[in-house]
Structure formats: structure tokens, C-alpha cells
């Protein structure tokens, strides 16, 4: 596998640095915005010098990082899940012994000695034939608005989502770049670009300076800009110390959720670097952070992708792989043993779902940390190819300090993460893993896990229609004739999908997608409807509300928030209200019936 050094060597791909001042369109270029602010003599002059590019010796000039095998992704199990990334080579190298990649730790305040000191290597060196594999992506997932066409013609493209950065050849002067539906930017408070979802950061120096100018202009007035709205566009700002995060989106998501996404993006960065980067900026305001994040494009793009398929990103809860209660308990016991030997957290994961997890006494893992951690592991190629020992930071647990993560994949989907505070614990953790693996193999747990993946989770079709209980389950007792059970497709009475979040456990269970919500586009649209519902229920200062019924041309949505749980359910837009309420009651009952299998029950002291 590629070493981290390869990412910092100058590229021979011939990609040329752009003109440092890419303003080709004097009428609308972002430079103009700044000059307007400046012309009023009121904005701070941007600190980004035109010569800033010379500081780079390479870095992000890969053509594309998407791997060529193109077999990743596909719709299954409640969302678009990446699978089988570089599968074959991974198996061969499974037994490669200790290989701590670049085991340099960034101690607080210490300037990193090498550009990839985060001690891990992202997706590198697999760039052949990339262009052919992400074509479909252009129309389905990302994200150029088609002018005048609300074109659902692209819906048949079942988005083979590929990690990594795309459209690096674009910058703010390109129309295609401006038309992307959702941009994410990370920049420093001196206006230096750190990350951009699309386009080459170098070329976006001018644009980045404009964003910085807007933020600091408002800040100079003793205020803080949160949101700018223009037509269907929202520009969302988040300031985290010396780091500025900006999202420019026309995706119909709520401001609250977009801000939450920026927060997660920031968390992902902290997970890789810790908050001690703040001190780098204190020492040197013009500190260039891009090299530190070298090779992490896949991590960020995978996180950004999860915003449109993973409910954990807005529910702030995690989900478990459905398993027989006894098996999960057994797994928990082994993990508990591991923790007892001085490990902070032990997690057995299957893709983004938890099989079991335990923490040392009094240590608790925030669902957001879990999300960012699993995203980091899942999207980084190197974790799959060998067992790894890598410094990471859990931003919610302790944003200031690095932990050390031992990661080992048992198969393509199932992996263990052991977190410790000790930098010399590799051999101990390896021993723990070997013991764990023994038990997992003996008790056949790994194959049960595989079967569970294949079978999927709860299905709306399985929600029982108990006609006898009708009058007892609803206090309305409408004893009129039962309408046709098969209204539309999906579950009974037009039930299409549901999500149930246990507040006490901080976990959620989401039903599998059933017809008619089959295409990735439809699923994404449903999630966006849920996100709005969630935001509407959890209004700052007012909420949470108790109940919501919402019907438009696409869905009938119902939401209940109680002290114990939250239920989000989607129905056919023509669904009967009384029946929908009844079905929601039954869904709740059904989840309670199987809660021992779908949730990880209070095995460990989770108390945040």
C-alpha cells in the first residue's frame, strides 16, 4: 500500500497550478465582493497573498482519488453503503504485522514534522480510469442543478458513490463549480483555504479570502454572521476559534441541519488533528493547515456523503446491527473484559452499525464521536489493508488530546476499534484482538453478523395489521369499515418508512427502504423530509414539540416526541390520518417487542 510519503511528493500528473488570481469574470467574481467591502474602507485587507501557492510542494494535486474498481456502493440495508473497497488486496495483507504508519504524534502545540502526521494514509495511488466511474454520480448524487429541468430523469442512476474529491479542476470562475448544489469550505481566520468539497483549494484562495472578509466584516461590527439566504441558496457560517466553516447549498435542507453538518465536519477535522491546531494559529496566523490534512479527502467526502443517507447525522444517535440478544450480550462481555485491561473503549462495528461496545468506567462515547470515528475508519483505505494503530481524537470526549486507536477488520464489513490513552499499547491491543477474534470465531458471531447484514433490519411490510386490536389500539375507536389495507405499496395503510429513536439509549432503529422509496434519489428526498421534520420538532427555545402531522405532495409524515422515544414515520401522501396514527402505535409496539434485538441494552454506563 502506499506510504504516506507518496502523498506529499510532487505530482507528475501535469496538473498545473492555476493562475493565483483566477478572476476571469470581473462582473460577478467574488473578488468584487471584497473590493466592495474594501472600497468602503471597512473590511480588513485579506491576508492571503497571491504568492501563497509557492508554499505548497505538492499536496492535493491528484487527478482524482476514486478507485477504479467501481464496485463500491449500492443501495442496501437502509442506505447507500460502501462495500468491498479494494477488497482483494485487503485480505492478502491482513496478516501483515505491526505497521504503525508514520507513528509521529502531534503533541499539543507541537508543529507537525511531516505533512501527514495524522499518522494515516488516505486514499492514494489508485487513480486509474477514474473518470469513467463517477459519471453517473454527476447526475444523481452530485449535484449540478440542471437549469430549468427539475429533471428526475437521473433518478434511475443508482448512484455508485465513490469517495474522494471530485472536480478538482474547477474554481470559482467556472460555471459548473458555481452550480454545484452544495459546497463545503474550511478556511483559517486569515482566509487561507483548508478544505473545499469541490475545486482545488489553491485556486480558491481568492474565494476563501472573500468568505473571510464577510465573516470578519460582520465580526468587526460586534456581531456574528450565521446565515445568508438568496433564493434557494443558503450560505451557512460556523466559526470555531481560528477555523471558519462555510456551507453554500441549494439542497432544501434546514439551516439547523446545515449548521450541524458544519459542526460534524469540524469534528471530523478535530478527530484527525485535535484542537491543538488552535495553538498553531496562535503562533502563526498564516499557518497553512492543508498539508496536515493531506490525504484525508476521502474521509471528508465520505462524511459529506453520509449527510444525505445516514440519519445519525441529524438524530445524534447511533444504530445497532440487529442481533439475537444473547449474542450481543456475549460480545459485550468480551469487550468488557478488554476494557477491564486498561482500554478506554472497545467497539465491534459492522459498517456504520454497532454490534457491541463498551467503555471503561465512567467513560462515555457520544454518538457524534462514534459517527465520526466509524466514518474515519470506514473511509480510510489503510485500515482495511492491515491492522493499524493510529492517533485519533474524539472531539466530544476530549477535543484537546489524542487517543490511540487500534483498528482491525475481520472481514469487509466487521471491524474492531480499541481506544486507549497509551501510545505504547499496540502489542497489548493486538493480543486483545486475538483473544476477541478467537471467541468470535468459536461462537460463530461473525457469521451471524454477516447473516444479519444480508437479512437487513426491520421492514414496514412486517408491521402487523391486527384487526382485532383496532378499537383498543386507538382510542378513537372508529369502527367504520377498514379501508383497503394495500393503499399504495410498502407497509400497511401506506406506511413507507419509519425511524424510532430511543432517547434513553441514544440509539435509533430505521426500517429498511421498501417500495416505492427505492431509488437513491427518493431515499435522499425522504431523509431531507425527515430532517425538516426533526428541525421543526426541535425548535431552539421552544421545542421539543409533542406531535406533528405534515402532509405535502410527496409524503404524509407523522412524528411523536415523548420523554422516552421519538418516532418519525412516512406514509403515502394520500394515507388516511386515523389509520396512520394507528399504524404508528403499532410500529412503536413492534419496536418495543424486539428492542432486545435491535438495541444495545444498557450494558455499559452510558451517561452523557
Amino acid at each position: 500500500m502506499a506510504t504516506s510519503d507518496s502523498s506529499s511528493s510532487p505530482s507528475s500528473s501535469g496538473t498545473e497550478f492555476a493562475d493565483p488570481n483566477p478572476s476571469t469574470d470581473p462582473e460577478t467574481n467574488s473578488e468584487r465582493v471584497q473590493s466592495q467591502l474594501e472600497s468602503m474602507n471597512l473590511s480588513q485587507p485579506s491576508e492571503v497573498s497571491d504568492g501563497s501557492h509557492t508554499e505548497y510542494s505538492g499536496g492535493d494535486d491528484d487527478d482524482d482519488v476514486a478507485s477504479a474498481n467501481g464496485n463500491e456502493g449500492g443501495v442496501s440495508n437502509g442506505g447507500l453503503v460502501r462495500e468491498g473497497v479494494a477488497g482483494t488486496s485487503g485480505e492478502e495483507e491482513m496478516e501483515v504485522s505491526l505497521r504503525v504508519e508514520n507513528p509521529v504524534e502531534m503533541e499539543a502545540g507541537e508543529e507537525p514534522p511531516s505533512p501527514t502526521s495524522s499518522g494515516y494514509d488516505g486514499e492514494r495511488g489508485s487513480s486509474g480510469g477514474a473518470t469513467s466511474t463517477y459519471k453517473a454520480d454527476d447526475v444523481s448524487e452530485d449535484e449540478i442543478r440542471e437549469a430549468n429541468v427539475d429533471g428526475d430523469t437521473a433518478s434511475q442512476h443508482e448512484a455508485a458513490w465513490l469517495p474522494g474529491k471530485r472536480h478538482v479542476d474547477e474554481d470559482d470562475a467556472s460555471m459548473s463549480w458555481r452550480k454545484r448544489k452544495k459546497h463545503f469550505f474550511i478556511l483559517s481566520n486569515s482566509g487561507k483555504p483548508i478544505y473545499s468539497r469541490y475545486g482545488d483549494e489553491h485556486k480558491l484562495a481568492g474565494f476563501s479570502a472573500t468568505l473571510q472578509a464577510i465573516i470578519s466584516f460582520v465580526e468587526n461590527g460586534g456581531d456574528r454572521v450565521n446565515l445568508v439566504k438568496a433564493g434557494k441558496h443558503q450560505v451557512v457560517f460556523l466559526v470555531k476559534g481560528p477555523i471558519y466553516l462555510v456551507c453554500i447549498s441549494c439542497t432544501d435542507e434546514t439551516y439547523e441541519y446545515l449548521r450541524g453538518q458544519l459542526d460534524l465536519l469540524y469534528g471530523q477535522m478535530i478527530l484527525i488533528l485535535t484542537k491543538s491546531i488552535d495553538r498553531c494559529f496562535e503562533k502563526n496566523a498564516k499557518f497553512d493547515m492543508t498539508p496536515l490534512l493531506g490525504g484525508t479527502d476521502a474521509v471528508f467526502s465520505s462524511l459529506v456523503h453520509s449527510f444525505s443517507w445516514n440519519p445519525a447525522t441529524f438524530l445524534h444517535a447511533y444504530t445497532c446491527l440487529p442481533l439475537p440478544y444473547a449474542l450481543r450480550q456475549a460480545t459485550g462481555t468480551i469487550l468488557q473484559d478488554v476494557c477491564a485491561s486498561g482500554v478506554l473503549f472497545s467497539l465491534l462495528m459492522c459498517r456504520h452499525k454497532v454490534v457491541s461496545l463498551t467503555g471503561a468506567q465512567k467513560a462515555s462515547l457520544h454518538p457524534d464521536d462514534l459517527l465520526l470515528l466509524s466514518n474515519f475508519v470506514m473511509s480510510s483505505e489503510s485500515f482495511r489493508t492491515s491492522e493499524s494503530f493510529s492517533p485519533i481524537c474524539l472531539p466530544r470526549y476530549n477535543a484537546q488530546a489524542f487517543l490511540h486507536a487500534y483498528v482491525h477488520f475481520f472481514d469487509d464489513d466487521t471491524y474492531v476499534i480499541l481506544l486507549t490513552t497509551r501510545s505504547d499499547a499496540f502489542h497489548h491491543l493486538k493480543d486483545c484482538r486475538v483473544r476477541l477474534e478467537d471467541v468470535l470465531l468459536k461462537s460463530n458471531i461473525l457469521s451471524v453478523v454477516q447473516r444479519s447484514i444480508a437479512e437487513g433490519g426491520m421492514r414496514v411490510e412486517d408491521v402487523p395489521i391486527d384487526r382485532r386490536r383496532r378499537s383498543s389500539t386507538t382510542n378513537q375507536g372508529q369502527d367504520t369499515a377498514v379501508p383497503d389495507v394495500s393503499v399504495g405499496t410498502g407497509g400497511p395503510f401506506g406506511l413507507w418508512h419509519f425511524m424510532y429513536r430511543s432517547i434513553y439509549l441514544d440509539q435509533y432503529i430505521s426500517s429498511e427502504f421498501s417500495p416505492p422509496v427505492t431509488s437513491h434519489r427518493q431515499q435522499k428526498s425522504l431523509y431531507r423530509a425527515y430532517q425538516k421534520l426533526y428541525a421543526s420538532m426541535h425548535v431552539k427555545g421552544l421545542g421539543p414539540h409533542k406531535t406533528q402531522y405534515r402532509r405535502d405532495e410527496n409524503y404524509t409524515l407523522l412524528c411523536w416526541v415523548t420523554p422516552d422515544f421519538e418516532l418519525y414515520a412516512a406514509f403515502d401522501p394520500l394515507a388516511d390520518k386515523a389509520m396512520a396514527i394507528k399504524i404508528c402505535n403499532q410500529v412503536c409496539q413492534r419496536v418495543k417487542d424486539v428492542e432486545n434485538e435491535v438495541f444495545l441494552q444498557g450494558a455499559s454506563p452510558f451517561s452523557w
Binding site: S30, L37, S43, D172, F217, G222, L227, L542, R550, K577
Partner: protein, 497 residues
């Protein structure tokens, strides 16, 4: 620097009008500013507000060329944008403050900007036209300043401007409130309108009739009706004339305390001459203040008189639909206010002809006016006529630009939490409406933390907002309540089947 002084002083409102086509060269930035409130802020502060606005208009156009910046939400302020005419922007900056209940709905604030601009155009013509007439900008500035200041004074309560906050969430500015007529009254009104239409001989006139602060009839387009109605309720109706006593109008409450009197109309907003490239309005002649307070009174002949436009001068207004100018004559009998619009083109001999038209009205329409007033008074349910027990509602018909709502006194009985929840729901609906071009058909019922049901229903251009505090527990009960209301008061417009 910047807007640091924003929080200083008791005044938390800023309102500016600027022209993006002006002041493009360095050193001439002041030229952009056509109006700024409060006028005594330093130029650098004024320029800072406008610089940020212009910067963000340009910035957002990179991504959204068709719809530039609409709002900036900052931690402590909201900046509300409205492009009143191409490249002519109005920006209102308001301070958020939960303690003093400064919780706004952006769309409601934008409607304030829209209203002040529409009224300005109705009297003075477009801003661009005035700029073209006198490119130095002195003319437009001298008109905008007193106009907007007079308008803002209507919002003055105590020492602060009372902007439409969440407490007014069950109102809709920029719409007309109608009186429901019994069949026989409707026939009488129709016949009266016929007489009024033809009282200038062969030239067709327009008329707008109000009873108290409610619209009885109009022959204008919905847009023009909204403007004339808004002005009438502000200055002409019996409630407006008895200034000082509070009006129960849905939109305009509170007493009117004229503030502009302390400042001479001749003072320009941008300080005394010299600093400005524009002439100090020397060639502009007398500036008319159409929204000046306490200037209307009822004459002996029943017509309202004012000296705003000069002694014995009749005001004219511009009708959007036809871009024609009309003389505005107002006749009042008891609570009945008749606004008669006579095309200026038809009046050859000025005030002489106007007196003739007035004479015609008195001769031909007096009897009918008497009769209409009698019928309307008899059927008049008073201020709470449109109260529906158990409901607090707002009904908006966007096509007709008409709204009806629970009386303010009744809305005031709602808990603050209910109003805030409803205000938030309206914001959500505003966003949804903004996103789709076609009319939305949607229904949202929320049971808030305090158990109030807040409800929004959109159907074929009609909107219904409701707060039900005493509804029983279930969603189905709340739905039934909406259904009954819809059937009884909205001809089933929001019924499910």
C-alpha cells in the same frame, strides 16, 4: 469601525435605500445612498451597512444569479433585503432581543419594506424615474426622506418602532380585509358603485369603498386595491381621522405620535450641503409629504380635505395596472369612506372640474350612500364580528390579496408560547413557499410543548393558520376542528374530501 455602534442608543432599527448603479467609483460611495434611517448616523456607519449589503448581493449572485441576497441572519441582528426596483435596494436591519420580544418573521418585515415602497410609487412614481429626472439624486432624497420617516412614525410606540413581531403572526400586511355583505347590502353597494363610476361623465372612474377599516368594494386590480386600502386605513377612514384614539384595525394599532415635526422637511437626510455631490434640492421645489400626520379633515360637503398638496389642491396617485394618474377624492359619511379615483386625463380645468365631479357625487350618490351606510351599520357585528369562538386564525387568499383574522384583542389572549410556535411554523411555511414556484398544497399540525395545536393549511393559493389552545388531546380532534372551520367559514376550501 463597522457596525459597532449598532447596539448603542435606544434605536434598534436601521433602514436604508440605495442604488447599485450609483457611486461606482472610489470616493463617490456616498452617492449610492438614497435614504438612511436614523439619519444622524455617521457616514462611515451608513456606508458600512450599505457596503455589507452590496457585498453580499454581489456574492450571492455568484451562486444564485436570479435571486440575490434576501436576508442575513447574524447572532444579534437580522438584515432584511428587498429589491424594490431593479438595482434599487431597501435593507432593514433589526436587532434581535428575546427579552423585549423582538422575535420577527422575516417575511413580515419584508412586507413592511414592500408596503412603504408601493405607497411611495403610488404617490411619487418610481424611484428610478425620479433619479432619471434629476441625476444628482437630490430630488429623490428630498422625497424619500419625509415619506419613509412619516411611514415609520406610524410604527412608533413609546420610544421605539414597533415592528411586526411574533405577536402579529396572525396578520398579513399587504392584504386587504373585507367586510362580508348580506345579499341585499351587496346589491345596494353594487348600485352605488355604478353611480360613482360614471360621475365624471363619460370617463370611467374607479372607486374603493370602506366601512370602518374594512373593504366593501373596489373596482381596482388587487395590487392597486392593496395600496389604496393601506393608505385609506392609515389616513382616511374614520378611525384614521380620529387620530390618537386607537384603531382596532388588524394591522395598524397603537397611537400615532408624529415625530417628524421636530425636523423640518427641508432638511436632507445626508446632512447640510457641501458634502454631497448632489444639489441640495434647490431645483426641486416644495416637497410633498403624502403620509404627513393629522393633515386630513372632513369638509362641510362631506369630502375630506388636506393642505398637504397645497391649499385647495387635490392629490393624485399613480395606478400600477394602467400607469395612469388619478385624482384621489374621498367622501365620508359616518363610518363609510368612499375613495373616488378620477383620471387626470379627463380633467381639463383642474380644480374647477374636480368641484364639478364632487357636485355630481353629492347630487347623484347621496341617497345611495345613505342607504348603504344604513344597511352596513345594521349588519355590522362590531370589532369582534369575525371572531370565531375557540379559534385564533388567519385566512389569506393570495390571488385576491385578501386576508381575514381573529380580532387582535382575541389573539392577545393566546399564550406567548403558542404565538411563538405559530410564528415559527409560519416561517417554515414561508420557506416552503419560497422554494416551489407552483402553489403548495400542504398541511402541518403541530402539538406544541404547551399542548396548543398550531396549524397551517395551504391549498390552491389559500392559506389558513390557526392556534387551538383548548382543543382536546388528539390530532384527529384538531383536524376535526379545522374541518368544521373550513366548512363553515371557508366554503370548504381546506376540507380534506
Amino acid at each position: 469601525m463597522g457596525m459597532a455602534s449598532m447596539s448603542s442608543g435606544s434605536e434598534s432599527l436601521r433602514l436604508c435605500v440605495f442604488d447599485l448603479r450609483r457611486g461606482q467609483h472610489e470616493g463617490q460611495e456616498l452617492d449610492k445612498i438614497l435614504f438612511f434611517y436614523p439619519p444622524d448616523l455617521t457616514f462611515s456607519t451608513q456606508l458600512s451597512v450599505i457596503g455589507l449589503s452590496e457585498g453580499l448581493i454581489t456574492f450571492t449572485r455568484l451562486f444564485s444569479p436570479d435571486a440575490a441576497c434576501e436576508v442575513i441572519e447574524a447572532e444579534r441582528h437580522s438584515h432584511v433585503f428587498y429589491e424594490a426596483e431593479p438595482d434599487i435596494w431597501m435593507v432593514m436591519v433589526v436587532e434581535k432581543n428575546k427579552e423585549i420580544e423582538a422575535v420577527w418573521r422575516i417575511d413580515a418585515l419584508r412586507r413592511v419594506l414592500k408596503e412603504v415602497h408601493s405607497l411611495f410609487v403610488m404617490f411619487q412614481g418610481s424611484i428610478r424615474a425620479l433619479l432619471e429626472k434629476e441625476p444628482t439624486g437630490g430630488l429623490i432624497r428630498s422625497h424619500l426622506y419625509p415619506f419613509i420617516t412619516d411611514y415609520l412614525n406610524d410604527l412608533f410606540v413609546g420610544k421605539k418602532h414597533q415592528l411586526p413581531s411574533f405577536r402579529e403572526t396572525l396578520t398579513e400586511r399587504g392584504t386587504v380585509q373585507m367586510l362580508t355583505l348580506a345579499r341585499d347590502a351587496a346589491l345596494e353597494v353594487q348600485s352605488l358603485v355604478g353611480v360613482l363610476d360614471s360621475c365624471a361623465g363619460t370617463v370611467r372612474c374607479h372607486s374603493v369603498i370602506l366601512f370602518h377599516d374594512l373593504l366593501v368594494s373596489t373596482t381596482l386590480s388587487p395590487d392597486d386595491t392593496v395600496d389604496v386600502f393601506a393608505f385609506s386605513v392609515m389616513r382616511l377612514t374614520t378611525n384614521a381621522l380620529s387620530s390618537g384614539t386607537s384603531s382596532w384595525s388588524y394591522l395598524r394599532k397603537g397611537s400615532v405620535t408624529p415625530q417628524i415635526s421636530s425636523r423640518s422637511t427641508s432638511v436632507l437626510p445626508l446632512g447640510s450641503g457641501g458634502t454631497l455631490p448632489s444639489g441640495n434640492g434647490s431645483s426641486t421645489g416644495r416637497v410633498i409629504r403624502p403620509l404627513q400626520h393629522d393633515k386630513w379633515s372632513k369638509g362641510k360637503d362631506g369630502f375630506l380635505v388636506t393642505d398637504i398638496w397645497g391649499i385647495d389642491a387635490t392629490p393624485t396617485i399613480l395606478i400600477q395596472k394602467t400607469q395612469e394618474r388619478f385624482y384621489l377624492l374621498t367622501y365620508q359619511y359616518k363610518s363609510l369612506t368612499l375613495v373616488l379615483l378620477v383620471p387626470t386625463a379627463a380633467i381639463v380645468n383642474g380644480e374647477l372640474d374636480i368641484s364639478f365631479v364632487k357636485q355630481q357625487v353629492i347630487e347623484n350618490a347621496s341617497a345611495k350612500i345613505l342607504k348603504v351606510e344604513e344597511k352596513l351599520s345594521k349588519g355590522w357585528g362590531g370589532e369582534n364580528a369575525y371572531h370565531v369562538s375557540g379559534y385564533r386564525y388567519l385566512l389569506v387568499d393570495n390571488d385576491m390579496e385578501v386576508s381575514r383574522a381573529s380580532p387582535p384583542g382575541k389573539v392577545a389572549t393566546l399564550a406567548k408560547e403558542s404565538l411563538l410556535a405559530l410564528n415559527k411554523l409560519r416561517e417554515e411555511v414561508d420557506t416552503e413557499k419560497g422554494r416551489s414556484k407552483q402553489e403548495k398544497d400542504m398541511e402541518i399540525c403541530i402539538r406544541a410543548k404547551n399542548n396548543t395545536w398550531v396549524i397551517a393549511r395551504l391549498n390552491r393559493g389559500k392559506e389558513l393558520y390557526m392556534a387551538l389552545e383548548k382543543a382536546s388531546e388528539t390530532l384527529l380532534d384538531a383536524t376535526d376542528s379545522v374541518q368544521r372551520f373550513s366548512n363553515r367559514y371557508c366554503s370548504g376550501a381546506f376540507s380534506m374530501d
